[in-house]
């Protein structure tokens, strides 16, 4: 038996750590998505028809849900990044603790607006 086996989650259960996990995982997923994104939009090189047929392929609920997820990830990564930049370049301010909630809110708001406009 080794010490600390059970305590990892408890120790990490505070807002800034959660913000880190969201920032890291969103960054990782976005970086993995980028090559696919470039490939997909690169269909335009083959002509408008090719891009159009790709876009029609994306018209299914699963792809739309993935797009919603990507919008949330991108906005959450932006929100988390703004918090880090403000801590690192402005110096510590008490309002910066609230930026954690702001980052999550930005992610959710962007996702909701995306869904609303998807239905519009």
């Amino acid at each position: 038996m080794t010490a600390f086996a059970a305590s990892a989650l408890k120790r990490r259960s505070h807002p800034a750590y959660v913000a880190f996990v969201v920032h890291r995982l969103s960054g990782l997923l976005l970086a993995l998505f980028l090559p696919m994104h470039f490939w997909a939009l690169g269909q335009a090189i083959e002509g408008e028809a090719r891009l159009e047929s790709f876009l029609r392929w994306t018209d299914n609920p699963l792809t739309k849900f993935a797009e919603f997820g990507l919008v949330v990830l991108l906005a959450a990564h932006l929100g988390g990044g703004l918090r880090l930049l403000s801590i690192e370049f402005l110096g510590w301010r008490d309002w910066q603790s609230r930026l954690i909630a702001f980052g999550f809110a930005l992610g959710l708001a962007a996702g909701l607006f995306f869904l609303l406009n998807l239905g519009a």
Binding site: L28, A31, F38, G42, A44, L74, A75, H77, E88, A120
Partner: protein, 123 residues
């Protein structure tokens, strides 16, 4: 129990790491603006569904669009590989020259693939 050993960093390694960090933060500042504009575009563009004609109508021959997205691609090609490099080092224990080389290759790939796509949408 022996005294803990320490692999000291050379000054040139430290300078390299510090420069990478500065590059990642400066690119993050550029990306913050780019992503805001990109998110707004996405959310507005999906109204009434995406179509190739609509997208290309925005991008073809639009020099402002081209320069904005070329900058976006360049910034992300700096930002993402440095972030992935940290993840590989911390979570997989992959460090050193081979990791730097892999990160540089990924940066070059993102830059090339991204610029190719942006030019494809412009021209």
């Amino acid at each position: 129990m022996s005294a803990p050993s320490y692999a000291a960093r050379t000054p040139s390694q430290i300078r390299w790491e510090a420069r990478l960090w500065v590059a990642q933060r400066l690119s993050a500042m550029v990306l913050a603006l780019c992503v805001l504009a990109h998110l707004a575009t996405i959310i507005l563009a999906v109204r009434g569904g995406l179509s190739a004609a609509e997208i290309l109508g925005r991008t073809r021959g639009n020099a402002a669009w081209l320069s904005f997205y070329a900058l976006f691609v360049a910034a992300v090609a700096v930002h993402a590989p440095i972030g992935l490099r940290s993840i590989f080092a911390e979570w997989l224990g992959w460090r050193g020259r081979s990791l730097d080389l892999a990160a540089a290759l990924f940066a070059a790939f993102l830059l090339a693939a991204g610029l190719r796509t942006v030019l494809g949408l412009y021209a």
